[in-house]
């Protein structure tokens, strides 16, 4: 009996000690409820934010790929279901359109000493989000195969196609892969390539579409040539579907997401020789340009508007712990961190290369999502050869204009 008692008191002492060790974020009380996408880097951030939990501070999280679809309804109610919404360049837009997130200027001044100026997302002078990682698509290539065939890493599409021809002669029937599945993925490839031309998607200051020009046509043509070097199954390629054909040694040049890079070169890859020979570079440039054809994305967090100031402060402090340099030190290779003191790892070389070569950000416009949908629905027939480029362009314009009119962006 006494030994039992002793054990119980020792255990509770231990428990107390551990909560005490966790409660060093400097939050008095409050509730932190995090909504985010579901991948390794965000797990790490949420794990570190959870370390602020104590008897008076509650930290919960919902990490799901559905975050984009539930964030608006969840933040619309008062008090909001979540205090923190982790967003990306595109998913912050609906939250701002509906006025669901609060300006962070005061919180940054009070608790944000660790932040670099480049992490602050300012819209109209007000800080609306804190970015902590960057992502973009880029070129994945097989160092060994390129070296064997005496091919340099392609930096333009012309070089890419020349390399593909050479690889085909060397026995790689379908040397290229990219996420060309109709819908979101295919549209993202158009956006990437079009950004490389330096042109804008819309007439400045309006929602009027401006892609029906020489550059738009050049992008369509380039995309069609890409499909000629891909497996016939390209209409089903997304980031997941590309991995097995890469590991099966069927592809030498791929365009895929930077956040996938660490999995491609992981020690536990099912094809270790291929993983060891995989390297990364910026996406190729289009035409005579030098801008990599890839959109830069940031991931960051926002704080809900419909919550108490106490919860907002608690959430901000907990997230500061979530994106602290200490968190980054333990998770160097999970992402391209925008946090102070970041040293790029091997998996980050592709994104960093794109950044330094001047890739452009994904447009943070309220009607960009509508264009993205219109592109995703109307490119495949042209790429499959059943429609002309002019017709595809006309279809995109019609679909976008209809949607933008319904959403109230065009009169």
């Amino acid at each position: 009996m006494t030994s039992n008692l002793k054990f119980a008191s020792a255990a509770s002492a231990l428990l107390l000690a551990s909560t005490a060790a966790h409660a060093d974020c400097g939050i008095e009380s409050g509730s932190v409820r995090i909504l985010s996408n579901d991948f390794a880097a965000l797990h790490a951030v949420a794990d570190w934010a959870s370390k602020c939990a104590s008897d008076t501070v509650e930290v919960t999280r919902n990490q799901t790929e559905e975050h984009k679809n539930i964030q608006v309804p969840a933040l619309s109610i008062d008090p909001a279901t979540y205090t923190v919404a982790v967003v990306a360049t595109n998913s912050i837009v609906p939250l701002m359109n509906d006025d669901l997130i609060r300006p962070l200027d005061e919180l940054v001044a009070e608790h944000g000493q660790q932040l670099q100026d480049s992490q602050l997302i300012r819209v109209d002078g007000k800080i609306m989000a804190i970015a902590f990682m960057a992502n973009s698509q880029h070129l994945f290539y097989r160092e060994d195969v390129l070296a064997e065939n005496g091919i340099d890493v392609p930096s333009t599409y012309e070089e890419m196609f020349a390399a593909a021809e050479q690889l085909r002669a060397a026995g790689y029937e379908t040397p290229i892969s990219s996420s060309y599945m109709p819908g979101w993925n295919l549209a993202a490839e158009f956006v990437n390539t079009y950004l490389g031309t330096g042109n804008d998607f819309f007439v400045p200051g309006t929602a009027e579409l401006a892609i029906n020009n020489e550059d738009g046509m050049a992008v369509l043509e380039t995309m069609k040539r890409m499909t000629e070097y891909m497996s016939n199954d390209w209409t089903t390629f997304d980031a997941n579907a590309q991995t097995p054909i890469w590991e099966a040694d069927e592809v030498v040049l791929a365009v895929n997401w930077g956040s996938r890079a660490s999995a491609y070169i992981a020690d536990d890859s099912p094809a270790p020789e291929i993983a060891a020979a995989t390297a990364f570079a910026a996406s190729p440039a289009i035409g005579d340009g030098t801008t990599p054809t890839a959109a830069l994305w940031w991931d960051g967090f926002t704080i809900a508007k419909n919550i108490s100031d106490e919860d907002a402060e608690a959430s901000f402090i907990a997230m500061m712990n979530g994106i602290s340099p200490e968190m980054m030190a333990e998770n160097q290779d999970l992402a391209v961190w925008l946090i102070d003191g970041y040293e790029p790892t091997r998996a980050a070389t592709g994104v960093i290369d794109g950044l330094t070569k001047g890739a452009r950000p994904y447009p943070m416009l309220p009607y960009m999502g509508l264009l993205h949908t219109a592109l995703g629905d109307n490119l495949s027939e042209y790429l499959q050869g059943s429609e002309s480029a002019e017709q595809a362009m006309a279809d995109i314009e019609a679909a976008y204009t209809t949607a933008a009119t319904e959403a109230g962006f065009i009169r």
């Binding site: 359109n97 109209d124 599945m181 452009r360 999502g369 629905d377 319904e406």
Partner: protein, 342 residues
């Protein structure tokens, strides 16, 4: 049954139908008449990790005021129904005015998103439904002839396609028809064409979806017919045998007429189900070659960051109208039979 007794039995079901079927349909119909308010846009400087740019953003405060005044949005009448993403009346008028021949008219109409989806939906419905009925009947007759000992296992295996969740079933088949999958690789070696891919060509994708539809629904028809077969009157069957009818004649003149009402029932269910075809398009990543009305609704609600409720509502209403038109002949036939009997 006196009306009062009938009412006291039916009212819970009536209330549920009103609450969960009629009201939502009315609200969707209402929604389809409205579009978003005109957005108040402001131009300002947006800064981030990749530099600063002049960008347009929505004036949230001004929009909130507009929404408080008119929560449903802007009244648009039937504008959403007739726009280019739905019935496209203006576009069709222009196509008829400027096209030179019938095939041009057909091609240009087939290029409009709503009609493209409608054509696939109708093809799927009218190809899969009869095949399901025929195949289900053949399986039922065959299983009925199997020795009693084997019946249990045979029935179980025939039902498996229906037991599998549609999305999972289509994903399983999707990977089997991959050019590295067992079916895909087998077809390549049978036809001696290493570039053959069921996922690549639109025609083959359509056929794959039809085959999947039949595979998935045939067990339903089979179960219904098999139950019906157990009740075929033995004396009629025996007198047919005495009259010297062979096996085929017995099926043709006794079984089929007897099971006809069941065939009508299956046709009714399948027409409704197949007109709403959706999961296989997602499972087979087939949106490049085949879209259905349900897929259009999904796309409006899920593809963009901000859902297009009005557009999705309009497509939903058009789908309901489509189902009603499809079912009219079958329902009319039922009504006539009912009148004949009473």
């Amino acid at each position: 049954m006196p009306h009062k007794t009938f009412l006291s039995f039916i009212w819970p079901s009536l209330v549920a139908m009103l609450l969960f079927i009629a009201l939502p349909i009315v609200s969707v119909g209402f929604q389809s008449l409205y579009v978003e308010h005109e957005q108040v846009l402001v131009v300002g400087e947006t800064c981030g990790p990749f530099g600063c740019t002049e960008e347009v953003s929505v004036d949230a405060a001004a929009m909130a005021a507009l929404r408080a005044e008119q929560p449903a949005g802007q009244f648009n009448g039937l504008g959403t129904y007739t726009n280019a993403s739905h019935l496209a009346t203006d576009e069709i008028a222009e196509i008829f005015a400027t096209s030179e021949n019938f095939s041009e008219i057909r091609n240009r109409i087939m290029n409009l998103p709503f009609y493209k989806a409608l054509i696939f939906t109708l093809s799927y419905t009218f190809i899969v439904t009869p095949l399901v009925i025929i195949l289900g009947f053949i399986i039922a007759v065959a299983v009925n002839a199997v020795p009693a000992m084997l019946k249990g296992p045979v029935i179980f295996f025939s039902l498996i396609p229906m037991l599998v969740t549609p999305l999972v079933g289509s994903l399983v088949l999707f990977w089997m028809i991959d050019s590295r999958g067992i079916i895909g690789a087998a077809l390549q070696s049978i036809f001696g064409d290493p570039s053959l891919s069921l996922k690549a060509s639109p025609t083959l994708t359509w056929i794959t979806l039809f085959v999947y539809g039949v595979w998935h629904s045939a067990p339903f028809a089979f179960v219904v017919f098999y139950a019906g077969l157990q009740t075929v009157p033995r004396d009629t069957m025996e007198s047919a045998m005495v009259d010297g009818a062979n096996r085929w004649e017995r099926i043709r003149f006794v079984t089929i007429p007897y099971l006809m009402p069941l065939a009508t029932f299956i046709a009714l269910m399948q027409l409704m189900d197949n007109f709403r075809v959706f999961e296989p398009i997602i499972g087979f990543s087939a949106a490049a070659s085949a879209t259905s009305l349900s897929y259009l609704i999904y796309n409006d609600l899920r593809a963009a960051e901000s859902p297009l409720f009005g557009s999705a509502a309009a497509t939903s209403m058009l789908t309901i109208i489509g189902v009603i038109i499809l079912l009219l002949p079958v329902l009319r036939q039922n009504w006539r039979e009912f009148n004949r009997k009473t």
